[in-house]
């Protein structure tokens, strides 16, 4: 089913079209939710809520960009709204609090490639992780991140800097990437 057909069907609240759209985009979107959520169950809850928003607001899609990008924005905002409901998340945006968190490297799974990188991201404190996900992966500017998370733009920048340093450290220790920093590359790719 083409994207146009799926869209037309979804606008008519056609269940088959909705399922086709869901099947096409849900694996990648669940990956997005998984990077933000606490665990798989949490991510699936976010995905469910996000796709309900997608289908109920699909008439607002203007065909001005990729459908996947539009869906992704809704999913990301759903994840952020979910996180903001959690008091612990608000606390974690406090840099002083986050600094004291210790990462146990042994807990990082030793499986390869994309999942390993994602699991390393998930080892970060939730505040760091969220800012890093939004900036480095989703491509939101710090100004927009600050607005989304109700924090200062400078806080977003410093959270990102610290998150990046912490993640780099983990990835280097796990031999997923190599230093020097200006030559970061996958170890596996070189080996």
């Amino acid at each position: 089913m083409t994207e146009e057909l799926m869209l037309a069907g979804c606008l008519k609240n056609n269940a088959a079209s909705q399922e086709a759209l869901y099947n096409r985009f849900s694996p990648r979107m669940l990956g997005v939710c998984y990077r933000f959520g606490k665990n798989r169950e949490d991510a699936e809850d976010m995905l469910q809520e996000g796709f309900i928003k997608v289908f109920t607001q699909i008439h607002q899609y203007r065909n001005e960009g990729a459908l996947e990008g539009w869906i992704r924005r809704i999913i990301v905002h759903t994840c952020i709204n979910n996180l903001k409901k959690n008091k612990k998340f608000a606390d974690s945006l406090d840099i002083i609090h986050a600094k004291s968190i210790y990462i146990n490297e042994e807990l990082i799974p030793s499986i390869m490639q994309a999942k390993q990188v994602v699991e390393c991201i998930r080892m970060l404190p939730i505040g760091y992780r969220t800012v890093l996900n939004l900036y480095a992966v989703e491509g939101y500017p710090h100004k927009e991140i600050a607005a989304m998370l109700d924090i200062e733009e400078s806080t977003s920048r410093s959270q990102y800097t610290r998150a990046k340093a912490m993640l780099e450290d983990i990835l280097v220790k796990k031999k997923i990437i190599q230093k020097p920093k200006d030559r970061i590359s996958l170890v596996a790719a070189q080996g």
């Binding site: 869901y22 469910q48 994309a114 999942k115 991201i121 992966v137």
Partner: protein
């Protein structure tokens, strides 16, 4: 977004790898979305679901019955048990070590699935077959295979990653606690019909451990035997998630640390493990990601608790309004009538019990359990050296009119020199049912308020009843009401520790009905106030 150019390799790496990452949601997610979008179509889907569940249940039941029947009919022995028969008459034998050591017939299935596959989709299909298909399958033409043996009797699953050793009767000795392993082999494995799994137990006197030597041998044309080494065994409960990735690590380490194997062989295996093909790597990643048993819905939501509530018993005591004292002239005219209502001293009491609670939502838990209670308070009295005649005002339950009944009393409610205390006590068993609301907290500490009702059976106790003229007390335990209803309100703090949670907070328990039967002309309702201390464990 104009800033979207990645000047940093690190950010580019993150972006690329994160975008590559996919996860496949469970069917539940789509069904929930569908039900939310099409509420009018909910009932058909529920009906279909029920039919499917019933059919699956029946298929599972019939398969289990068939396997048991076949095992019994074939007269299988404990050391060589038939796992399952496939439609073409092929048989698979199960090693003794894979089964329980008791002598019951077990329903067990063995499956071999290929490890090397091309796409994630076909992998998922394989995994579904692995779980659902009760018959052994030897479809692999690849280098490595996974054997999954489900033991229905103890609901445990053993997974074996195997490879073809190519030599006769040679197997790796593996400790039972090995879980899952790196797939290694350069030789093709199974593509013929009959497979036999044999095992022998060996006791290692030096290390005081028992190891299994397991060989899976496939017989081709009943002549040539090909031995297959077990690289690893994992045994899991059906409901538990297995961290295959962590397990793989563990086995790698274990393989390297093995002392009872020739060093060269170990090195060979480790080296082979590092030379996995891209397909095998991809398979392992997806296997670890998706081949996990479905988490039970109540898993993590259900918890059990035991508690003790030391406290005090208080009471409210008043004349039963249905009693028309004016119609009992002898009661008000008796000598001493008008003496103040008897006082009392709160006494020590306790409640103890156990229960379970279910997290209906993030902030609400539903609770139920069993509770034993002991209530106790004291009445200051004067000991009388000899029995005196007194009366109790009782209600005629048929007519509604009160009447007097004579009783002998040994204690008086008037000042004297032989002061002492008598105790009114009850022993109760109740079934508390209620709800708890989480008011706040963090990952370590949580604050709850809770309330509930407790249908209660009063097993026995002591009851000193005040006489009609308030001058005496009469011991009359038969007047205790047998059934009652209590309500409880409490607030407590949960403090999470390693593996369990401590709970502490004040609790108030109130009795809805009088402690005495309707025949007695006074009503007494008990209150128990105490500090509830408990230990909660997640199930």
């Amino acid at each position: 977004m104009e800033h979207k150019f990645y000047t940093d390799d690190f950010e580019r790496l993150l972006k690329e790898k994160s975008d590559e990452f996919r996860m496949y949601p469970s069917k539940r997610v789509w069904y929930s979305i569908y039900n939310d979008l099409h509420p009018d179509r909910k009932w058909p889907s529920i009906a279909v679901t029920l039919v499917l569940v019933t059919v699956l249940f029946l298929i599972g039941y019939w398969n289990n019955s068939n396997n048991i029947s076949e095992n019994l009919a074939a007269g299988t022995t404990h050391s060589n048990k038939k796992i399952a028969a496939d439609p073409s008459g092929k048989t698979t034998n199960l090693p003794e070590s894979f089964l329980n050591t008791n002598n019951q017939a077990h329903s067990t299935t063995g499956i071999i699935a290929p490890a090397s596959v091309n796409t994630a989709n076909s992998l998922q299909n394989n995994q579904q077959e692995t779980v659902a298909n009760p018959q052994p399958q030897f479809t692999g033409t690849a280098n490595t295979n996974v054997v999954v043996i489900n033991n229905a009797s103890n609901k445990k699953r053993k997974k074996l990653l195997i490879t073809n050793s190519g030599s006769n009767n040679k197997g790796n000795k593996l400790n039972e606690d090995f879980t899952i392993a790196v797939i290694t082999s350069a030789q093709p494995v199974i593509n013929a019909n009959n497979v036999t799994i044999n095992t022998t137990k060996q006791n290692d006197a030096n290390s005081n451990t028992t190891t299994d030597t397991v060989v899976i041998a496939k017989t081709q044309n009943n002549a040539e035997k090909v031995n297959i080494d077990i690289i690893a065994i994992s045994e899991t409960e059906g409901s538990d998630e297995v961290d295959d990735a962590a397990a793989a690590n563990k086995v790698n380490n274990s393989l390297q640390n093995k002392t009872d194997e020739p060093a060269a062989a170990v090195k060979k295996e480790s080296k082979a493990g590092n030379q996995l093909s891209a397909q095998d790597k991809s398979w392992m990643e997806h296997y670890a990601m998706y081949n996990k048993p479905t988490r039970k819905k109540w898993k993590g939501r259900l918890s059990s608790e035991v508690f003790l509530t030391p406290g005090v018993t208080l009471r409210s005591f008043y004349s039963n309004t249905s009693v028309k004292l004016s119609s009992v002239p002898s009661a008000v005219n008796m000598p001493g009538a008008g003496t103040a209502m008897p006082g009392y001293t709160p006494g020590l009491s306790f409640q103890t019990g156990a229960g379970i609670s279910y997290a209906a939502s993030k902030n609400i838990r539903v609770k139920a359990g069993v509770q034993a209670s002991f209530t106790n308070y004291a009445i200051p009295v004067t000991d009388i050296n000899h029995p005196v005649l007194t009366t109790l005002t009782l209600n005629n339950l048929n007519s509604g009119y009160p009447y007097l009944e004579s009783r002998a009393s040994l204690v008086a409610n008037v000042p004297g020199h032989n002061n002492k205390k008598v105790h009114n006590q009850t022993s109760q068993v109740s079934i508390p049912v209620g709800m708890a609301l989480r008011l706040g907290g963090n990952s370590k500490v949580e604050w709850y308020v809770a309330g509930g009702v407790q249908p209660t059976y009063i097993m026995g106790g002591k009851a000193y009843l005040v006489s009609s003229d308030h001058n005496n007390f009469v011991s009359e335990p038969s007047m205790l009401r047998k059934w009652n209803m209590n309500g409880s309100a409490e607030t407590y703090i949960h403090y999470k520790m390693n593996g369990f949670t401590l709970q502490a907070g004040p609790e108030l328990r109130y009795q809805f009905f009088s402690n005495y039967s309707g025949r007695y002309s006074y009503s007494e309702k008990l209150y128990n106030a105490g500090i509830k201390l408990g230990i909660v464990k997640n199930l």
